[in-house]
Amino acid sequence: MGFFHRHRGLTPYLLLAPGLAWLAVFFLVPLGFLAYQSLQSGNFDVGYSFDWAWGNYWDALERYHEQLTRSVVYAGLATVFALLISYPLAYWIAFRGGRWKNLLLVMIIAPFFVTYLIRTLAWQTILADEGPVVGIFRDVGILGDGGRLLATSTAVVAGITYNFLPFMALPLYVSLEAIDHRLIEAAEDLYASRLQAFLRVTLPLSLPGVVAGTLLTFIPAAGDFINAELLGTPKQAMIGNVIQSKFLELTDYPSAASLSFTLMAVILVLIAIYARVIGTEKLTG
């Protein structure tokens, strides 16, 4: 007690210390090691040594820009679809869920008690050629007779969308739930139509949730490799698959590290642009 009284200025730092220590040990140190490794050259048998091998980065961009672009496109599409699916869902639960709210929220999370891999493998069955989804799509003419869903880009994007849906739905729910209903009523009292009230009151107030949800979905989705591996073919390979192959199959750690950094840089740039467009104050609400 006495100590904290005398050094009141220190308190915030002391409270921050565990978090900072955690970040330093489990984020900054590995990141530094990864950066160091990304500039090494050599091979696995004789060992890798550090020699400022910036060439690793050029190789990464030159040889794998296709997979990198594909990752950004797939992750972007999945984020948009997840938003389109989650917004009405979260809206409905927040405003009309009533006493079922908690149950409905649990239902969103329920599939995630099953491991990621098994969930994705289940999609192999759902989207199988003789499965129900393909059957219906063929009947209504979305797919031709020989058409298939599995082993296509559609399957990969659908898989990613599904796997990251809760990361979108939950932040949306939180920000929609917090909206004061009286504001919407006030808008309607002032002769706003329901659409206008939504566009000028509800939507802007839920933007922090939209921003948080899109970031939480897009960032991990861009690095995902399970969906492309299990639901796609080599033509759908994403940058995560390349990194996995470099790291595990080829034991080419410097290339894997430089690709990871490149991916991180691309994501940071995209987020910076996004934050710029939508305005940083929306991030914090």
Partner: protein, 383 residues
């Protein structure tokens, strides 16, 4: 390594030093718990064993591992059996960190395949304990072809667990005609988009190299490129639905795949549920591979060796290999099995005849280690 301490060992000894009471423990520590020939020759209480799935006989009702239970009964060693090897590269990725830092991976036996480079790497890097050959008199039952493999010429570090063959699996009902060549698999328009190949190059390229009339046991730049180009062409033409690891069995069973490159034992297992699935050695020849047990550094070499000696007893092997659908490396195991289960013992795929074995080939170990080949193959996989 024998005179170097692992971190675990250091901690264990420090704890013992602090306690300084437990005499037997102290003696064991002084003996250098790392085993190896001339190390401690006392059976451990538990042996930790990492293996692939479907590689141990199981009692369907009690879910107990039969061979391991029998071993425990006879030697009092409890085997902690984990089916956590599902890919050579991923398992290697997991263990290479600790092993390269001289840390124990808490395993006494692990299993890696000879048709990928990781098995040779573990031995070459000195990350494996020597077998305690004095404890394995049954090594004389090892089949002749397995005695002097390139990665371990005198079998100082490794012993075969079982072998399997790579060939073509197909659905007889859906393909209408037999698929017996890689030419059909890669180029037949009737199979377009309904074919899968395995993602390890020894399996898939090995078969294509044979189809091209080249020798997979001595791969040259030319024969490699010829085969690779053929796979790439099929890939560009949209022939493949997927390039998979061991995940091809589901789509094959569901009919999403008509034909694929596959392993003998897997298909034999699927065949029980779906009689339309069959497996053949391609006309131009098939590939053979062997999963080998190794004792990772820090493992208990004596206990592991006693265990392998037990497995190499033909009577024990008969029961084990009669169950697991892969090929036994133990001489006399078929003869012992005929008495208990003649049907399995006479199955060509589990206990292949000389004629079958003459149709399958080993992959060139030098090609496995060739980084450029590995990179070119990964590029065909789209990564």
């Amino acid at each position: 390594m024998n005179d170097m301490l692992t971190r675990d060992e250091l901690l264990r000894r420090a704890a013992l030093g602090a306690g300084l009471l437990s005499m037997p423990g102290l003696l064991a520590a002084c003996g250098g718990g790392n085993g190896g020939s001339g190390g401690k020759r006392e059976l451990a209480k538990t042996m930790r064993f990492s293996n692939w799935t479907y590689y141990m006989d199981v009692d369907e009702k009690t879910k107990k591992w039969l061979t391991l239970e029998a071993f425990k009964k006879e030697f009092g060693v409890d085997v902690k059996y984990t089916e956590d090897v599902d890919s050579n590269s991923q398992f290697f990725g997991k263990i290479q960190g600790p092993l390269s830092r001289d840390q124990s991976i808490d395993r006494d036996l692990i299993v890696l395949t000879d048709n990928e480079r990781f098995l040779a790497t573990v031995i070459d890097k000195g990350w494996a304990e020597k077998l305690d050959k004095d404890a394995i008199p049954n090594i004389e039952n090892l089949v002749d072809v397995q005695r002097h493999p390139g990665f371990d010429p005198d079998r100082e570090y490794s012993l075969p667990w079982c072998s399997g063959m790579t060939g073509i699996a197909y659905n007889t009902k859906l393909t209408k005609q037999p698929v017996t060549s890689m030419e059909q698999l890669l180029e037949d328009k009737a199979l377009k988009g309904k074919v899968a190949i395995l993602n390890s190059f020894a399996d898939t390229l090995g078969l294509v190299i044979l189809e091209n009339g080249d020798d997979p046991g001595k791969i040259t730049d030319d024969s490699f490129s010829r085969a690779l180009d053929r796979v790439q062409a099929a890939q560009d033409a949209g022939q493949f639905r997927g390039i998979t690891g061991n995940s091809y069995t589901g789509p094959l069973a569901s009919g999403d795949l008509l034909a694929c490159v596959g392993w003998s034992g897997d298909i034999e297992q699927l065949h029980l549920d779906n009689p339309d699935l069959t497996w053949v050695i391609p006309k131009a020849g098939g590939m053979i591979w062997t999963d080998n047990v190794l004792i990772p550094k820090g493992g208990d070499a004596y206990t592991a060796s006693v265990f392998m000696n037990y497995i190499y007893d033909p009577e024990v092997a008969a029961k084990l290999y009669g169950h697991i659908h892969y090929i036994s490396p133990v001489k006399g195991s078929r003869e012992a099995l005929i008495k208990i289960d003649p049907e399995t013992a006479n199955n060509e795929l589990f206990f292949p005849t000389e004629k079958t074995l003459s149709q399958v080939h080993l992959v060139d170990p030098a090609a496995l280690k060739n980084q450029s080949y590995n990179e070119q193959w990964q590029a065909v996989l789209g990564v």
